[in-house]
Point group: C2
Chain length 227, copies 2
């Protein structure tokens, strides 16, 4: 029995390591997506898109590992919760990667269209903030830091406020200058992607609460589905 326990713990550790690796890849993806947007760097944007495949494969691999671990070790209570949480949280992490890709697609398509420096500065700020949130939530997950999870979910409100502000400013600029419509509408999309990443981060915070307390909670529900 002790041996089985040890082997299960080994397998679970492997899953945690894979999850952490996936998290680091996604953090890197969003970091680079923001950088590509700020620097108008299409090559970097393309690079993020190509690498997304590896993130998707991580999610698939975690799924296979989940099936194997459950079938072999038949975990219960906290162990089972641990395995299932990795499985579910990996969907949220993977979708953060998808949104980094969407940002990169926007960066590539904007081409030489008339840029609006002041709005790009705002988006860069929002991007840095989002990137930090992703980093912090991964750290909180690894360290099972409940208090930190609550705090990060609260931080998401900043992104909601930023999106509203950026949307408003884009509309004002687009109304005044037709030449800015192309870039302005992409700015709104990019800000929407960043705000949505905040929602996925909040989901991961909820998984941390679930792991620690065994309760399914909804953190920050009013901020979700913002525009």
């Amino acid at each position: 029995m002790k041996k089985l326990r040890k082997t299960f713990n080994n397998e679970l550790s492997k899953m945690h390591v894979r999850f952490a690796e996936m998290g680091m890849m996604v953090h890197e993806a969003i970091f680079r997506a923001v950088k590509a947007f700020v620097d108008h760097d299409k090559a970097l944007a393309h690079n993020v898109i190509v690498r997304d495949q590896a993130i998707n494969e991580c999610e698939n691999e975690l799924e296979k590992m989940t099936l194997e671990v459950i079938a072999l070790y038949q975990p219960v209570t906290a162990d089972l919760r641990d395995v299932i949480t990795i499985l579910k949280a990996s969907s949220d992490i993977e979708r953060i990667g998808d949104h980094a890709v969407s940002m990169c697609n926007a960066t590539i398509r904007m081409k030489g269209s008339q840029r609006i420096a002041e709005i790009e500065v705002e988006i860069a700020k929002m991007g840095d903030y989002t990137c930090s949130m992703v980093e912090h939530v991964l750290d909180a997950y690894v360290n099972r830091n409940l208090e930190r999870a609550y705090q990060i979910a609260k931080d998401d409100r900043f992104l909601d406020a930023e999106l509203r502000k950026i949307r408003q400013r884009c509309m004002t600029v687009m109304q005044a200058a037709p030449a800015s419509v192309f870039s302005g509408s992409y700015y709104i999309s990019v800000a929407t992607y960043l705000e949505r990443i905040g929602d996925y981060v909040t989901n991961v915070c909820e998984w941390i609460v679930f792991l620690q307390l065994g309760e399914i909670v909804e953190l920050n529900p009013s901020s979700k589905n913002n525009l």
Copy 2:
């Protein structure tokens, strides 16, 4: 053993029923979200937003059921795959609901802004198509219809093409008429939500393949992360 098998099958049936109910609620949500958008019906939009809570609760409930069923019956092979797939696919279904809510938020915020009838017609068409896709994929899931799943994933390309078209038309109109910027930028958002729902439908198609063949596949990868 036979008795345990029977009880497991009962529990699994309950999960399938709950999943199907969740699917129906989400189908209704997207149907109503499209209708609210087309009819400029803010009360209906509000109603969809309020009801989303019940969809989220379904997902939480399925999660609890998964933990209980695995801990109690320790399923393996096809049974385990069945349980895990419900758990993962329910995330995709829940997110379709979130996007219906986002559409409704857009409908509410557009207020009396200058509408563009020809683009609204296009979005309505896209909305109807998306709604059908959701209905078809739920049906394919329940009936384990592999061929249908492949077909539905292919259908997603229509939404990608529609989004590109609508985005382009919105930009043209916004450039020509500053008064249309407000509604135009919301149209782009709404079309983006519909396109993203298509991606979630494709994910569910992938789960159907996984259930039937035990293989994790990526259907229609090039269409994902479109803008």
